[in-house]
């Protein structure tokens, strides 16, 4: 035992050595993959300034773009509503699934495996794929976008809620069992109040996330602000498209600030 005890010098030497090896491997992977896809790092970097100048030249909203403000705001509003409603409906379902699927609260271990698998399946299909699949059944409508967001959110939040519930102190629930509380009372009086603030944070985060995704989904389902962007873009009205990007960014930031405020208030 004693002979293998390393000196601090050799311990830190080994630490540095390990770090260097990891760095070299990462650089190697970059170089290798760039070679395979034939990507010239230097020439691409050189092109960046010209690209940015073109972008600003064409996408900066002008006085003319203001006339598009009405329809843009209207579609942005609809998109926001779709993302909020799909998140909220999905979070209700997720909460039930999470309670049934979390290790601490599951009524049966088999149910837990089924829910875990289902949630992972829903989550791992990208939202764009959801939109394209659902497009066949529900055509180009807000509802298709709603469903695409709903399924992806359901998978994501079920997982997040399950982990939140599993992270709760099991002893606190035991304390409620010890007073004679039954399963439903433990869930309602113990699990939900303990988890509430974390669950709310997840829902707020998902609303932000879904607003961003909703614009992408809109491109495919032909609805909302995403479609409007596509429409202006393809008819060379870049300034209007730029205005949309700007407004989406502003909305996302406002949403983020609001949810940070709410989170702080309930923490």
């Amino acid at each position: 035992m004693k002979t293998s005890f390393p000196s601090p010098q050799s311990f830190f030497r080994q630490r540095r050595l390990r770090l260097s090896v990891v760095l070299i491997i990462l650089i190697g992977i970059y170089v290798l993959s760039m070679t395979i896809v034939n990507f010239q790092t230097w020439t691409s970097i050189v092109k960046i300034p010209a690209g940015i100048i073109w972008l600003f030249h064409n996408f900066i909203p002008t006085e003319r773009s203001i006339s598009y403000l009405g329809p843009i705001l209207y579609q942005l509003w609809r998109t926001l509503l779709v993302s909020i409603s799909s998140t909220i409906i999905a979070s209700l379902f997720s909460l039930v699934f999470a309670i049934l699927g979390a290790q601490t609260t599951t009524p049966h271990p088999v149910l837990r495996i089924v829910i875990r698998f289902g949630a992972s399946l829903l989550r791992n299909i990208p939202v764009v794929a959801w939109a394209m699949i659902l497009l066949f059944s529900f055509k180009q409508s807000d509802f298709t976008g709603f469903l695409a967001l709903f399924f992806m959110t359901l998978g994501y939040l079920t997982r997040a809620f399950t982990e939140t519930i599993e992270d709760l102190d099991a002893e606190k629930l035991q304390a409620l069992q010890a007073v004679g509380a039954n399963y439903f009372q433990c869930v309602f009086c113990g699990v939900l109040p303990e988890a509430a603030s974390t669950l709310t944070s997840w829902v707020l985060y998902m609303i932000e996330n879904n607003l961003r995704d909703a614009t992408l989904v809109g491109l495919l389902t032909g609805t909302g602000v995403g479609f409007l962007f596509d429409f202006y873009f393809k008819s060379f009205r870049y300034d209007a498209a730029g205005l949309i990007v700007l407004l989406i960014a502003i909305l996302v930031i406002v949403l983020e600030l609001t949810s940070t405020m709410i989170r702080r208030a309930i923490a």
């Binding site: 035991q174 304390a175 409620l176 069992q177 010890a178 007073v179 004679g180 509380a181 113990g190 303990e194």
Partner: protein, 257 residues
């Protein structure tokens, strides 16, 4: 009276088991279980209200065998056994008052309990109990804003809300400073005397056990090595209770040297 007869318990392999545990705890008395870490103190306490199961033996509370109870009966029995913990185990975002009211859950219908529909009498009683443990002014505060000692007193009030015959205390003062320790232990002793409750308490601190307990149960490696009045505990008894762990420790440190 609580009477535990021939309680046996094995955890998976062979570690932390109970071997033929027999003891009694009387109403109006503080009964302390002492012994080294891992001796099985917590296992005994949690067997009494069946938070830990799969053992053999008998646990008689007023001549009713808790181990034979079905689900509904167990819920009723648990309703009359309070329990407090080292980590208090209150629902921390809820107020002190709400946590005390949780003591009624075992007696309420599923739906009324789930939705927190408590009667006016229950609410008044909960506030009175908080007053009894000196926390009336904290009734509407979130429990995570209270100090450790205050949280433990909320835990006691929750136990009292159960109209208990017995209160199980699992290392109730292990996380408390000396001042809070005294407050909590004084309350527990008072409850034993005035309400004729059975107070069964796991303790690490021998001095506290000697000061507050009427009856001492010494446990070592899952077996009872002493049971008797506190005044019968002397250095020889303490050495017997704590011996093996110290020996084991001595062996370990000898190996390290």
């Amino acid at each position: 009276m609580l009477k535990v007869i021939q309680l046996d318990k094995t955890y998976g392999s062979n570690k932390r088991s109970l071997k033929d545990v027999n003891f009694t705890a009387q109403p109006g008395e503080v009964t302390a279980i002492i012994g080294p870490s891992g001796a099985g103190k917590t296992t005994i306490l949690r067997s009494v209200n069946q938070l830990i199961r799969d053992d053999s033996g008998q646990i008689l509370l007023d001549d009713q065998d808790i181990r034979q109870a079905n689900k509904a009966e167990l819920r009723k029995i648990r309703h009359h056994i309070g329990m407090i913990f080292q980590n208090y185990n209150l629902i921390s975002p809820l107020t002190a008052l709400e946590n005390v009211l949780h003591g009624r859950l075992g007696a309420k219908s599923t739906v009324a309990g789930m939705l927190g529909l408590y009667s006016n009498e229950e609410k008044t009683e909960a506030l009175a109990l908080l007053d009894e443990v000196g926390l009336k002014e904290y009734a509407y505060q979130r429990c995570d804003q209270l100090s450790g000692g205050q949280q433990q007193r909320v835990g006691i009030a929750r136990a009292l809300m159960q109209h208990p015959k017995m209160i199980l205390c699992d290392e109730p003062i292990a996380s408390l400073d000396p001042k809070s320790t005294k407050i909590v232990m004084d309350i527990l002793r008072k409850l034993a005397k005035e309400k004729q409750l059975i107070i069964l308490i796991n303790l690490h601190q021998v001095d506290i056990a000697m000061e507050y307990a009427d009856h001492i149960i010494g446990i070592n490696s899952g077996a009872i090595v002493f049971e008797g009045a506190t005044k019968a505990v002397d250095d020889d008894v303490l050495q017997k209770i704590y011996r093996q762990a110290d020996d084991a420790k001595a062996v370990v440190s000898a190996n390290e040297d």
